[in-house]
Amino acid sequence: MLRYLTRRLGQAILVVAGVVILTFVIMRLVPGDPAVAYAGPRASPAELAAARARFGLDDSLPVQLWNYVRDLLGGDWGTSLHTRRPVRDDLFQAFPASLELVGAALVVAIVVGIPLGVAAARYKGKFPDLSIRVSSMLAVSVPVFWLALALQTLFASGLGWFPVAGEYDANLDQTSPLHVYTNITAVDALFTGNWPILGSTLAHLVLPALVIAAYPAGVIAQMTRAALIEESSRDHARLERALGFGETSVLTRFALRPALNPVLSLIALVFAYSIVNGFLVEAVFNWPGLGRYAADSIRSLDTPAIAGVTLLVAILYVVANLAVDLVQGVIDPRVRSR
């Protein structure tokens, strides 16, 4: 197991190193002077020269790459050209908000997706199965941006059931200031007993979390259905049926647990995907997460910030993949020898 773990960790480090180099090269290949993004659209030649000197933009590419990697290893992700703050600080602030949103979405996706998958497997080939398959196909294929706008217009602006945008009612900052420990507002509000902010955050979470949950819920439902159908055709299921267990019992008491292993692996990967998929949703619902930061960075050609977001997302993917590999290694020893 240790050898397997070391091998997988080594591969993960190689992937991250590749992303770092690729990101850096692409950053430098993009036409335009990054110094303008820092010094402003009307910067004088002297101000541009000062910005170039400050960020070492006049050095040769290998020197710049070396400095970039050295700084990264030292925990310095560079300075954002549009916020003028350390990229690491910006990401530390934005990432927890995205984590909160995607976390809530995944809870919804699991709670909805797995029972739907079970129901579809239970009524395989019948109307419930067909309708669940069509619904999950729709959930997977509908563009999140469109879904976000549609739900916002209908349930927030039209019916007024939910807030239009934001993470929580900002007026509460005046009446119920929040003590921030994790930067995940709902968690901080829960642990500090700040009920007004907790209530407001949960209300604000509903619509964006539902939108982000659409894709993983659809995928989880389909995967659960497929895994259950496969599992329920095995010998043990036939034995269970022979012993008098009903179809629902066979599925939920005996087939579900082994069928959930691939679903769990899928959830890890879908988590990383949803972080990126949520960028547009964050923009529509004004959620102060990575999406807004990434959009602002792209708009202002803020190369250090773009590189920071790319690297963070790459790390998330690598960690998710690593977790899946390790889980599979634990479950199935044959995987370790591959």
Binding site: F92, A156, A170
Partner: protein, 538 residues
């Protein structure tokens, strides 16, 4: 514990540990906010402003030169404030001012009894220190003080500024950037660092309450009790800046009454806002116009006849109609509301005239094909309309226009390229002045420059340069003379040289809650709402 439970527990611990490192036990919200559970006073009226971009990049009043103007103008004050109706500077921190006959010495009388938010008095010595620090920092728009030779605080309320060359200093002092008067003694250490931690040292009606970079409500300002204007009568006591990049979301927030003012909507949403019961709208021509700068130095447009043909090909009326209120017809280079504006000069499309000029140069229908390149701002839908109309008009004249949408950094870099072959034939960009003086267009965009900065028509003309250099003095001491010089220069640059076409002047289209009373856009301060001047209604 089974493997997946252990994994789940480990994951949860990792997430909490990671995000705890991000938070660190800070309090989100105002420093002096009441404790949880207490309620706000009913008299606290909050004006909620919705910008599309982050509010603050730089809090230092010396170097601030970005979107934060929308907050800074409510926190800091300058000596004067520009009035676009009278085209003159009006009293702000200075109650009156005089200039010597040669325009090289200006004496400002300061308002007595004004206090900084730090509690220290704002007197002539403080104003002198403030302007001197801004000049010394030398960043952002600090160049506006370039004419200043010496500053003297004669007594507590008399500030004398001597200049190296004549300039309309009352206009300079009204600038939206770099003209702020602030307490230079506010911090003992590095003042710039102190500002950028989210502190202010202004004298305006509002002071910083809380600043949370990256949050939806990035900034809140609260009233400064010691403001010289007083707080009798109805005023907003707080301002909240709620950053909303998505225009549809901004509109929905306004529609539901959750915000007071939306900085920008697209034409479609603006039309919708105009017919909505609880919303009011305003439309004001800005000081920002679109310039199509022609390459006068190299490429086919070196031939003035071709430049004139392009000018005549633009469908100015069609463009303004397609913009649906987002732009108005330009008349010359200088927008209305500034000294130098020349009415009655609105250009018209003249395709037969364009064809004749092209034919004369050997191009046009039946002649040699002409290929031109144009660069414009990526994502700017108004510029896209211009490009579409121009491409279509030129196509009929056997001119192929290749338009490239680019980010500003790329577009500008290409335009400044030392290799003339890499430059475009037409460079499309907006221009606006840093203070209410039309000189900005002429000195930055049309005066000879080496290396190229904003002179992206690459025009080099000594006679025009000389006339441009005379503008500051004329503006300071001879306004009718300045008007004449501006008119003459515009005739030469647009007419004789055909270095530029001005397709339209941008309109500010604002939508705000019906309850907001007394709002008027001041184009000298782009996107600024002077909230103290407003009355909160029911």
């Amino acid at each position: 514990m089974r493997w997946h439970k252990r994994l789940l527990a480990a994951g949860a611990v990792a997430v909490v540990a990671l995000t705890s490192a991000c938070g660190g036990g800070k309090v989100r919200g105002a420093e002096d906010s009441p404790q949880a559970g207490t309620s706000q006073s009913a008299a606290d009226a909050t004006f909620t402003y919705v910008p599309n971009l982050d509010v603050v990049t730089d809090w230092d009043p010396a170097s601030s030169y970005s979107n934060e103007i929308i907050a800074m103008e409510n926190v800091y004050e300058s000596l004067t404030r520009y009035n676009p109706q009278t085209k003159k500077a009006e009293p702000r921190l200075a109650t009156s001012w005089t200039s010597s006959p040669d325009g090289k010495e200006w004496t400002f009388t300061l308002r007595p009894g004004v206090q900084f938010h730090t509690g220290k008095p704002l007197d002539a010595a403080a104003a002198k220190a403030s302007i001197e620090r801004t000049i010394k920092v030398g960043q952002g728009a600090a160049y506006i003080w370039g004419a200043v030779d010496t500053i003297e605080a004669k007594d507590a309320t008399t500030l004398v500024i001597k200049l190296k060359y004549p300039t309309a200093l009352d206009l300079v002092a009204s600038a939206g950037y770099a003209s702020y008067i602030y307490d230079t003694t506010a911090a003992t250490g590095d003042l710039g660092k102190w500002f950028n931690e989210g502190h202010d040292a202004g004298s305006g009606p509002y002071t910083i309450d809380s600043w949370q970079k990256g949050q939806e409500t990035e900034l809140t300002l609260k009233k400064f009790d010691g403001y010289w204007g007083g707080w009798s009568g109805q005023h907003y006591s707080k301002i909240a800046f709620r950053v909303t990049p998505e225009l549809t979301t901004a509109w929905q927030l306004l529609q539901r009454g959750e915000v007071s003012f939306v900085q920008r909507l697209n034409s479609q949403l603006f039309q919708q806002a105009s017919g909505t019961a609880n919303v009011q709208t305003s439309q004001t021509p800005s000081f920002q116009n679109l310039l199509a700068l022609f390459n006068t130095e190299s490429g086919p447009l070196k031939d003035v006849r071709l430049r004139q043909a392009i000018q005549k090909s633009i469908d100015y009326d069609g463009l303004v109609a397609a913009l649906k209120g987002a732009g108005v017809q330009a008349s010359g280079l200088v927008p209305d509301g500034l000294l130098g504006f020349t009415p009655g000069q609105a250009p018209k499309q003249d395709l037969p005239g364009a064809e004749a000029l092209l034919k004369e140069a050997g191009y046009g229908p039946g002649g040699k094909p002409l290929d031109l390149t144009l660069t414009y701002a990526q994502g700017d839908s108004d510029q896209e309309v211009l490009v579409t109309l121009l491409t279509s008009a030129l196509d009929k004249l056997n001119v192929k226009l290749t338009a490239k949408p680019l980010q500003w950094t790329t577009q500008w870099d290409q335009g400044k390229s030392k290799d003339t072959a890499k430059r475009q034939d037409i460079f499309v960009m907006y221009w606006y002045p840093d203070y209410a003086d039309a000189y900005s267009w002429f000195v930055n965009v049309f005066r000879s420059a080496d290396p190229i900065s904003f002179n992206l028509s690459y025009m080099k003309n000594d006679a025009i340069d000389k006339e441009i250099d005379s503008l500051p003095e004329l503006t300071a001491i001879d306004k009718p003379g300045a008007e004449k010089a501006y008119a003459d220069l515009q005739s030469k640059i647009i007419g004789e040289q055909a270095a530029v076409a001005v397709p339209y002047v941008q309109n500010y289209q604002r939508a705000f809650a019906k309850s907001v009373q007394g709002y008027a856009d001041n184009p000298a301060y782009p996107n600024v709402v002077f909230v103290y001047d407003l009355k909160p209604g029911a």
